[in-house]
């Protein structure tokens, strides 16, 4: 009992993921800055932001639904942490696993997006409402491709448990090459899930101020930001578990190093992607996802299906 509480709260739960999330937030910010010819923040900036925001007053708008307004940030942060328990981090086995946990992880990673929508909707301010509607519109565009490509490698491994998938691909590393298309699709979808440029449409500053988060301040806002930081790490971990299953079985210490390198690799791709493009319009985003990303995901599915006839 005590052990599982520590697991949940300290390691590898809330505290560990929060700190890791903020470290990678720093990595993201410094990379983005260096790629833009800027100096970038000092290493402690995400922590300083966290402390500063947490010390500020929470303001709940009079018009807003105060219960929903306060619960949604918590929901978002919790869901991402729970998702991490089913993803193999530095060993081929996740903390907990069961047959079909891949579906549950994707489902859990959808909850933050849903809570952004609810938060925006129950804020009742105009900017938040528009942001909320955009969040949900965008969700439909990237979620289907993400589902397809996370589950496609499972066809080959004949399992929908992430731990077993990781074990299968580390036993047959060459088969990873068949998932390259899926990797690209997953990166694009993750960028959309994390609402980063070019898919930061729900919080487009120059149009709708801060979108969903316009009315948020203080501890509630910091929880949302923490949830996004953790979601970034968990998302990157999910991608690296499914598409980059290397370095398991090197022992805990080296396994951890490889894990960090893999997440950093995914973060570099995300940061370069973010640097080199402009924000799309919502209908351009939806068109792009259904025209190019979804067919690519279906292609990945076909590749996996055809290969599974030959393998095993």
């Amino acid at each position: 009992m005590a052990a599982s509480i520590i697991e949940m709260i300290v390691f590898p739960g809330f505290v560990f993921l929060g700190v890791l999330g903020m470290i990678f937030e720093y990595v993201d910010r410094i990379l983005y800055a260096r790629l833009q010819n800027r100096k970038g923040p000092p290493w402690f900036q995400p922590f300083a932001d966290f402390i500063k925001l947490a010390a500020k007053e929470d303001i709940v708008p009079r018009e807003a639904d105060s219960v929903m307004f306060k619960v949604t940030p918590l929901l978002a942060a919790t869901a991402t942490v729970v998702a991490s328990f089913y993803i193999p981090l530095w060993g081929p086995a996740a903390l907990h696993s069961f047959a079909g946990d891949a579906v549950v992880v994707i489902y859990l990673l959808t909850i933050p997006t849903m809570s952004f929508f609810l938060a925006g909707w129950y804020s009742t301010s105009l900017y938040s409402t528009v942001g909320a509607v955009r969040t949900i519109t965008q969700l439909f565009a990237y979620e289907v491709p993400l589902f397809l490509v996370i589950l496609a490698p499972g066809i080959l491994a004949k399992t929908w448990s992430l731990s077993e998938m990781a074990a299968f691909y580390s036993a047959h590393p060459l088969l990873c090459l068949s998932n390259v298309v899926g990797f690209v699709v997953a990166i694009v979808a993750l960028q959309g899930k994390l609402e980063r440029i070019p898919f930061d449409i729900p919080e487009a500053e120059t149009e709708i101020v801060a979108g969903t988060f316009t009315e948020y301040s203080g501890r509630l806002l910091v929880l949302f930001r923490l949830a996004i930081s953790i979601e970034t790490v968990v998302g990157a971990a999910l991608i690296s578990a499914v598409f980059l299953p290397f370095g398991y079985g090197l022992g805990a210490a080296w396994g951890f190093v490889v894990f960090i390198v893999k997440i950093a690799f995914v973060m570099v791709i995300l940061a370069v992607f973010k640097t080199s493009v402009a924000r799309l319009r919502i209908e351009q985003m939806v068109n792009f996802c259904w025209k190019y990303v979804a067919p690519a995901a279906v292609l990945q599915l076909f590749i996996s299906l055809i290969l599974s006839a030959f393998v095993g």
């Binding site: 790629l35 833009q36 010819n37 800027r38 105009l126 900017y127 409402t129 528009v130 440029i197 070019p198 930061d200 449409i201 487009a204 500053e205 120059t206 149009e207 709708i208 101020v209 640097t275 080199s276 493009v277 402009a278 924000r279 799309l280 319009r281 919502i282 209908e283 351009q284």
Partner: protein
């Protein structure tokens, strides 16, 4: 017909992250589509024209430098050209060339600034950082030449204030080479980057007919194919002697406006090189009298944002009797509702930014009268004070008690 219940009104302004100055665009939306736009100005009225009447011509030179923070040389030169015309002053050739030099450097820094702002409006912050980094090169040049990064005060009535030394010439030519190289890179980016083109093409379209009808000026008009440039049509300073071409484009949208501005950067480099290589010898300024004779003049100046018009009436004293400023944004704003017809909410910031607006330059108090001549609505000081008090009272704010207590305290 759109169901009125489905219309959402979103205020962009008076304070909004997309706006650098206060203005209010109330956008009526049906989903993400725009159905109506209500534009309100007047948050920045500074009474510049009235202030000018109480100052001498020399003091006014500094005042009009501050009409706009970006095209400060444009407004100052435009005003001084009026004064010189009234006074019958002939600016020496070297002075005219120096004015052209500063004017073109200003155009470069303004267009780089615009490129960055436009990039930020469409969420392309990388381009913002790059173009503002390069803008520093020209800002440093202006600081070297005049001592100031903005509001250069490079004019005197009758000519220019600062001469250019040979070392400065070499430094400018070197910097212009750097800038030209960078600009070529931006042209490449503008013609290749898919998301950039997707966000700019077919946004804020305005046809040549509408441009002519609404009197649009500057790069906004030139991007719709109207070949109009005060530097060529009504040459001032040294533009009669300097060869340059007027950049036009037929895209009619924000993308076209981007191409025109980037193209104008390349022209500015040519002009600067020509000016420096053919700088005439002689004095840089003519001696100006302190009192300007009675008379009136209008002058046109092609500011980076479009044609700037000033009107000055002198009455024989050292202060002008009336000055009128018409900033280019004033006319360009009229075309914004037309441009935004049928666009998305996401296009509003970039379309507004694409005319390179400068609201504080634009705001003037105007006496509004009915078309039949009567019924003018002008508030006296007492009336407007009364109106303010009543308005606040009606909205539940009453300062009577506070005022009484304050009066007691002061006793």
């Amino acid at each position: 017909m759109v169901n009125p219940e489905k219309i959402v009104k979103i205020p962009i302004g008076p304070q909004h992250p997309a706006l650098k100055e206060p203005a209010c665009f109330t956008v009526s939306l049906n989903g993400e589509k725009l159905v109506d736009l209500d534009l309100r100005l007047g948050y920045n009225h500074r009474g510049v024209e009235k202030a000018a009447e109480g100052r001498t011509y020399t003091q006014n030179m500094y005042l009009f430098e501050r009409v706009c923070g970006i095209c400060s040389h444009s407004h100052a030169t435009c005003f001084i050209q009026c004064v010189e015309e009234v006074a019958g002053l002939e600016v020496p050739p070297r002075g005219r060339f120096l004015r052209t030099l500063i004017g073109e450097l200003e155009r470069i820094h303004s267009h780089f600034l615009w490129l960055g702002v436009a990039a930020h409006e469409i969420g392309f912050d990388t381009l913002l950082m790059y173009s503002w980094r390069d803008r520093e090169v020209v800002m440093d040049l202006l600081a070297m030449l005049t001592g100031n990064r903005v509001n250069y005060a490079a004019n005197v009535i009758g000519g220019a204030k600062h001469d250019v030394t040979d070392e400065q010439k070499a430094a400018i030519l070197k910097a212009v080479d750097t800038l030209e190289e960078r600009t070529k890179y931006y042209i490449e980016v503008a013609s290749e980057e898919t998301t950039l083109i997707a966000r700019l093409s077919n946004v804020g379209r305005i046809s040549l007919e509408d441009v002519k009808r609404l009197g649009t000026v500057g790069p906004t008009a030139r991007a719709s194919g109207l070949s109009q440039d005060a530097r060529r049509d009504d040459p001032y300073a040294a533009y009669k002697e300097v060869p340059f071409s007027v950049i036009t484009d037929t895209h009619c949208d924000v993308y076209g406006r981007t191409l025109v501005r980037v193209g104008e950067l390349m022209e500015s480099y040519k002009i600067i090189r020509y000016v420096l290589q053919n700088l005439p010898d002689g004095p840089i300024a003519a001696k100006a009298p302190r009192k300007i004779p009675a008379g009136e003049a209008v002058s046109r100046y092609e500011a980076p944002r479009g044609e700037d018009v000033h009107y000055v009436r002198g009455n024989g004293t050292e202060k002008p009797e009336r000055v009128r400023v018409r900033a280019p944004t004033m006319v360009n704003l009229l075309s914004v509702p037309k441009m935004l017809e049928g666009n998305n909410l996401a296009d509003v910031p970039i379309t507004v930014a694409a005319i390179d607006p400068c609201f504080s330059c634009t705001d003037r108090a105007i006496r509004v009268a009915d078309a039949d001549g009567g019924n003018a609505q002008v508030f006296s000081w007492e009336e407007s004070r009364r109106f303010g008090i009543d308005w606040y009272r009606k909205n539940g704010v009453d300062f009577t008690d506070v005022n009484k207590r304050l009066a007691q305290r002061l006793k």
